[in-house]
Every structure is written in structure tokens, then in C-alpha cells.
Symmetry: D3
Subunit: 131 residues, 6 copies
Amino acid sequence: MFAVEVRDHIMIGHSLPSPVFGPAQGMHGATFTVDAAFYTEDIDDHGLVVDIGLATEALTEVLAPLRYQNLDDVAEFKGKFTTTEFLCRHIFDGMAGFARSGRLNDGGRVKKLRIMLHESHVARAWYEGAI
Amino acid sequence: MFAVEVRDHIMIGHSLPSPVFGPAQGMHGATFTVDAAFYTEDIDDHGLVVDIGLATEALTEVLAPLRYQNLDDVAEFKGKFTTTEFLCRHIFDGMAGFARSGRLNDGGRVKKLRIMLHESHVARAWYEGAI
Amino acid sequence: MFAVEVRDHIMIGHSLPSPVFGPAQGMHGATFTVDAAFYTEDIDDHGLVVDIGLATEALTEVLAPLRYQNLDDVAEFKGKFTTTEFLCRHIFDGMAGFARSGRLNDGGRVKKLRIMLHESHVARAWYEGAI
Amino acid sequence: MFAVEVRDHIMIGHSLPSPVFGPAQGMHGATFTVDAAFYTEDIDDHGLVVDIGLATEALTEVLAPLRYQNLDDVAEFKGKFTTTEFLCRHIFDGMAGFARSGRLNDGGRVKKLRIMLHESHVARAWYEGAI
Amino acid sequence: MFAVEVRDHIMIGHSLPSPVFGPAQGMHGATFTVDAAFYTEDIDDHGLVVDIGLATEALTEVLAPLRYQNLDDVAEFKGKFTTTEFLCRHIFDGMAGFARSGRLNDGGRVKKLRIMLHESHVARAWYEGAI
Amino acid sequence: MFAVEVRDHIMIGHSLPSPVFGPAQGMHGATFTVDAAFYTEDIDDHGLVVDIGLATEALTEVLAPLRYQNLDDVAEFKGKFTTTEFLCRHIFDGMAGFARSGRLNDGGRVKKLRIMLHESHVARAWYEGAI
């Protein structure tokens, strides 16, 4: 199995309003370094898993609504805890939608994605799944 | 599949007394940067794979008996070669025990762990398995 | 000249309310990986620039009031733009105070500090100065 | 499952002569940091996945024909696009050949390899497969 | 003294036609991760060393003529050895010109720059100087 | 001012027999990632600070007597605390000797060195000085 992975980052604010989150209950924030990996069984005639320009464009587009946002104010996150894990899945869903739309121009070869968010130099989370 | 990974490190001494290990047969040592990844099928109602505080506490507790030790003097390692791979498995076993004890407070959702030890900027090892 | 550097991190929220900051004007946040370097002309009888335990304790203590905070609500930051550069200097001042208090137990040998904040994988800032 | 991974790097020149590659069509180049991971079900009597010296030797040997080369001049790459993905597979094939030759001295325990090429601080690719 | 540093990268081809360069005499290439640091004595009323957007724009503009190029074909490099050190200085000169033009909008506060090129995971070079 | 920096690593054992070192008093060890930086005022006719092959050879030679050693058994370290800072200076002295011997073939242009030892992902030390 082949994979190509590209990196970007976002800086967001949010609160995690439950005693479960201890000192992180109030408004604070994070820089998330975001790695998006695209998996295919084989490479195409140009030796590609996926066009890296389109892969980067997909990630830029999916991250745009989050960039410099207070996630507490994002309508679709109301009532949700915007943990690192939750955001991995949210970004996965956006990337999977982009892939299924055909805009990756991959002929449907991308079958799996992994979205990894590094929240600090000592903690990270990821979600991977079929699309 | 979701995962959360936390990082800590230990500094240990040991010898690897077999000709197989060439220049590393005598007493020397290593800094191991240790990454512990916890895998679940889904996130819980708080958007969590596992409470990151408890995950970190588990790793701290499992590493404590190794921290600043001469592994040649650790009773349970007598007659063993304490290679990076061996230590991955040893730490995995400790972490799996912690998880099975219920102290991760994860409702038994954590089904798999991966323990990765970076021994230098050019070499690392890991063990992953179901718990 | 000798130096020892230790690392910690904080996750904070803040806004940067001026058109100068473009998309970063509203409430958002950051993970700052913080490196604190201590400089001395020479090492002491134990071969130390500074006790690394005390150096780490100093950094933990100085970062504590910032950890998981909304910097817009921190009284001493009212009317200030809490940029990465500004925070470098703020943390420097706290660390310099710790050093001058004698609590580093360094016999006054630490003459200079550098505080570096990594705000993402592509941007960082630092402040260095005599204490 | 266990794994050991070793790292090396190569610096190569190449062109990617198709409009698909946009600004990268002409002669340019890359530093590839190369990670080679060896997977086994278990460790041997010496606590090893594989002798790390032999693993490193394998990687050095497989990378040698690429080191400081203009890949456009390498006979076996004629008519191929030497993308990062393509090179992952090429190096995988060389490493798999080394493993199958018995020169890893692993008793046939290494069943899977992963070859990862980091082409920049924001992009990487890998190929993994059974050998 | 304050500093802000931003990162970008370029992928180039070149040859180093002198026996001094041993195996690197022929056409090959490199990925250079480029860090540009801007130094000031103090921060401005917005808490800034320099607008990070303009700093990034400066680096993008200065790197543009090198991106995906065969440096052997760049007119101003004729008769030069385009070593990592040489390129540090070349990029420094471009960045210093940008700064002196007033386009950093820093009121002439930026007095020093450092340009660092990482050529691999084990080697890097830099040039720093007043502007 | 120009600089070139190369990286290597060593794995050593040692004890730090004084109550000052708390849990690190007994036999333990470390992986030290070692960065050696060479500074010159200008580059030579080949665009070099120093021949990177010779720089790497110097570092390899200076580190050789430490590699895989128990530093408690190294004669010249008797009665010394082999802290990270101490080792920075020890390696600096070896590198400075190499440089002064003329074996760097730099025409005496290298005027300053910096030796940095990373002892973990959260701590490092360095020594820099004129040669």
C-alpha cells in the first residue's frame, strides 16, 4: 500500500466545558499541526498516489473554516466537545467529501485517509478510515 | 479507527552481553523517547479516545521503575537482553495491564496499544498489539 | 560560553484586536512550545550550568499563570497585544526574576537567558537578554 | 507486531517531464530522508527484530546507486517518472531483495517492510508491503 | 534582543563541478528547508518584531526565482559553486534588500537577519549579518 | 558570519555520584545527539565554510572514544561529573584540537565552534567558544 502525506496547521480557540477536562474547561486554544495521508493500492501512470498540489488544496480548503476561529462560535460544533480526536474526525469527513467529489482527480483510487493532529510536542491524535 | 498518543522519556544504562551486539556489549546507555498510542473504534460522549491525563499517568507509572536505572540490576530482566524492541514489549505489557485494570476509565474501549521507543535520531522500534 | 535549555509547553486563547493582525483579530489560540536557555561563563564544581531540576521548576512556575488561560482575561495583559514576541519577553521577565531571587541556586552565575516560543511548525520567536 | 526502523538520506536530481507536474517539470532535485522499517511477529533469542547493523547496511547498499545521482541518467528509470512514491517502491524492492537473500540473517522472520521518504518538512510518502 | 523566524522550503538541482566535492560533483539536488530570522532591539506598539505576514511574503518572493530550478542554469550563479553556505548568503542578500526597501513596514527596526538552510536531517548552514 | 553544522550521536553509560543529581546518581545512561557548528567570517573560493566531509570526519573521530562507553571507566574522566555540559566542553576541546591541527584544511578560517548535545526531547546543552 502507498501513501502520500501533506502538512498544514491551524490556530484555534475553544473551551471544553465539562469537569472531565479539568484545567482545560475554560477558553484557551491550540496550534494543531495537521497531517493528511492519502492511501492507494497502486500509483498511477505518472507515478503518483495523488497530485500533491490537489492534496494540499484539499487540506487548505477543509481547514479554512477553522483557521483563527473560536470553535465555540462555529455553528456545527454547538453542543460538541471540540477535542483533538473530534477535530481529527471532523477534518477527515471534510477530506473524505473532497475525495468523493472527484476533485482529487484520482480516478477513485484513494480508498483510505488518515488525519493526524499534533496538539503539542508531547501529544497527538489521529483518525483513519475508508472513504 | 481513532488514536491518541502521549510522549515521555527515560534515561537508562545497560549492557548487551553477546558478540551479536558488537560495540554495544559493554555497559553503556540510552535516552528513550517513549510514545504510547491508545486506539479505540470510536470516541466517547466527551469526544475522547481516552482521558489524556490518565494516559499520561499510566505512562509515567509504567516508566517509573526504569527511570535512571541500570537495567542489568533490574531483577525481572535477569538473563534477558534489554534491547529497544524488548523494552517496547515490556512497556506494552505494563500499559496493557494498566488499561485492563480499568484505571484508564475508558469503559473498556481501548482495544489496542502501540509503544514506540526512539533510541536516537536515526533509529526507533515499536510493538503494537491488542490488549 | 555554556548554555542549558529546557522545554515545556502551554495552550492559551487570546485575541489580537487590531486590523494589523488580519485574520487573527478575533478569539483564537495557540500551543506554544517554550524553550528556556540559561547561559553561564563556566560550569560549577558539579559540572553544571544550572541544576536542571531547578531550571525546569522555574519554567513550570513562570508558565503556570498562563496555562490554559484566555490571555484576554489576564489582568496584567489588559491593553497589550499578547503576540508571541510579547510573551517571550513576559516569560523572560518571570524567569529573570526567578534567577535573581537566588532560587536557581546558581551562585549568580547565570548571566543571560533566552526564551523561545514555537507557535507552529513554521514560525517561532525569541527574546534574549542579560539578567 | 514488532518493528525496527532506521534512517538515512540521499540527495538527487531529476526532472518530471509532464504538464501534470507543473513547476516541477524541469531539472530540479530533492533531499530524501529515508526511513526503512522492518516488521516481525516476534523478537529472537537476542531480543531483536533484526540486527540493526545489518538493517543499516541494507539501506546503505540499496541507496548507494541513487546517492548524488541525476535520476534522469539512471538506466532503469528511463521512461519512468521518479516521483517520491515511485522511489519508495523502488527502494522497497531493493530492500525486499536484500531481505529475501538471507543477508539480514533474520531466519526469514522479517515479513513486511515500510519505506518512507520525507521530501520536505511538509510532505512525505511511503510504501509498505509483504516481502 | 528579539527575533521572529519563519520557515519555507525549496527543491533545486545543481552540480558542484570541482574535485573538492567528491561524489557531489555531478548533477544532483536538494530540498532546502529555509528559516529566515528577523532581529530587532525592541517590539513595536503592536507587540511585533515584524509583521509575520510580510516576513513570510518576503521569504516567498526571495525564494521564488530558485524554486524548482536547476541552479546551473541561473544566470547570476554562472561560475559560482552553489553550496548551501553560498545560498544562505544569496538569500540573505535578497532578504536584506527587501528589508531595506521598506516593504517590511518595520520602520527600519530590523537590524539583523539570519538565513539558515537545512540540507538534510544531519547538516545545515547559516549566514547572519547586519542589514 | 557563516556557519555549517553537522550531526552525529553517541550512546553512553555513566553515574553522577553526588546528592546534587538526585535520581541520576547511580549508573544510568543517555543517547546524545551531537551537533557541531563551525563558524567562519567568509566562505572560500569553493563557496565553503569547511569541507563537510572533513567536518563529519572530525566529529566521528572525536566521538569515537566515547561511543558505547561507560564514562565512569574512561581514565581522563576520573573524579569528574560527566554532565551534558561537561561533555559539550570535552567534545569542543577535541574538535578545537582537530581544527588547530590543520586537518580541517580550512586555512585557519574556522575561528569559533559550538558543540550542542541533545540529551532528550526536552533538554539540551551547548558550549561555544573561539579556537
